[in-house]
Amino acid sequence: MTDFDTLLYEKQDGIAYVTLNRPEALNAYNIQMRDDLYQILSAIKDDDEVLVAIFKGAGKKAFCAGADLSEFLSAPSPVVARQVRFERDVWRLFLNIPQPLIAALHGYVLGSGIEIALCCDIRIASEDSQFGMPEVDLGIIPAAGGTQTLPRTVGQGKALEMLLANPWISAEEAYHIGLVNRVVPIDELLKAAEEIAKKIASCNPTAVRYAKQAVVRGLDQSLAEGLDLEKRLVSQLRALRAK
């Protein structure tokens, strides 16, 4: 196990576990967590031993209750802040990890918490999960990809409602709108995520990466381009298998 200030990192049998670990602050996302996450994600990306990763939150109350607002008003000028963002673009990195990522969600999943979950490919939630997008309440908008990843996951209608009106969404509703793949009792949460992770880890790792790539990149392209991408990936896989 490797300790960072805000995260725990473990690896076991091809599965990486990333735990958001600021339970005293409901695992709120802060600058230190950004830096820790950047390091861990860079490591995962380059680590072929990691076949799949699970993201979870420490403590009983929250996966992640959003961004740590105490740092917000000390932010540098917009020009500097924007420069810093693009120099160390943790969200772009997150959305470009080649291995499948699974989010195991419980308690409060708000703002950046939802956005972290949306950077993952599969979301499992415990029955006590509560979801919300409170940014516009604060005069801001999401900045970790939420305005892009949420509509691509739950559709434009529900995404606009969540972003503009910020209703609280229960685990059951989150399942109904497709925000999470599955809802389980809290004491089965990690087990459910691990079951999926083990299934993925038992498959050919290149095929797994290619499948993710074909879907994620394909959705960003025209259908014809997506079909070309699929064809290319399949012939590469065939060539690898023939070796």
Binding site: P78, V136, I141, D220
Partner: protein, 255 residues
């Protein structure tokens, strides 16, 4: 200007536009298009208007038609069909559609151009143009498929079949369904929840979603970040964060 085909009023920073509950739309479509466009211009220019409700009530099944919607009641079409959605999609503030009864044809296209849809449980929806040899012309083929997915959109557009509120909710065509007597309060509550948020943030959130869906994810992320940092220059942002920290209600000025 006097409005004859519709009425509107603004209350607590929400503009409510009531479209007329009549069966024979093709007789007023020209006037309705003009007046809706005019009212949308008013909404866009009034700083105090933070959200718009478009109220669609049609409790009568449009008679003597294959449900083909406005302008097609007699099966005849204008050479250039009049767009009701053009004015609505120009609004950069949130638009909520309140639907009670039949949202058929162009009426459905109109509610698809809104951002959030709430319907009474006795509402019905259809895109019946195909039954009179036409296809949707006010954005329906594009917006329906983007909202409910290709499979369901193709079915609705190719069959012209009518679906009830429950099915519309299940497929994501409407955000919520409520009892008819609860509709007004549900819509008003949602509009007031929206109007209480940071007004510039609302416009940027809407822009990020709608523009971003037409871009690659990578480009969308760039747009979101740019809009986010632009918000750093607003007074509303510091007000919102301070208000949250002091556990009081934020007073947004749109600056």
């Amino acid at each position: 200007m006097r409005y004859e085909s519709l009425s509107f009023h603004t209350e607590n920073q929400v503009m409510v536009i009531n479209l007329p509950a009549i069966a024979d739309y093709h007789t007023i479509i020209t006037q309705l298009t003009d007046e809706l466009s005019d009212v949308c211009t008013v909404a866009a220019s009034e700083k105090e208007v933070r959200a718009v409700i478009i109220n669609w009530e049609q409790d009568e099944f449009p008679p003597g038609t294959e449900l083909a919607g406005f302008g097609s009641v007699s099966g005849e079409y204008e050479t250039t069909p009049l767009s009701l959605t053009a004015a609505v999609v120009k609004l950069d503030i949130p638009v909520i559609a309140s639907i009670n009864g039949y949202a058929i044809g162009q009426a459905l296209e109109l509610v698809l151009a809104c951002d959030i849809r709430i319907a009474s449980e006795t509402s019905y929806f259809a895109m019946p143009h195909i039954q009179t040899g036409m296809i949707p012309w006010d954005g329906g083929t594009q917006r329906l498929s983007r909202l409910v997915g290709k499979g369901k959109a193709i079915e609705l557009i190719l069959t012209g079949e009518m679906i009830n509120a429950r099915e519309a909710h299940r497929i994501g065509l409407v955000n919520r369904i409520v009892e008819t007597k609860e509709l007004l309060s549900a819509v008003t509550e949602m509009a007031h929840a929206v109007a209480a948020k940071g007004p510039i943030a609302l416009r940027y959130a809407k822009e990020a979603v709608l523009q971003g869906l037409d871009m690659t994810l990578e480009q969308g992320l760039r747009l979101e970040a740019d809009l986010y940092f632009l918000l750093h220059t607003t007074r509303d942002r510091s007000e919102g964060i301070k208000a949250f920290q002091k556990k009081r209600k934020a007073k947004y000025k749109g600056k």
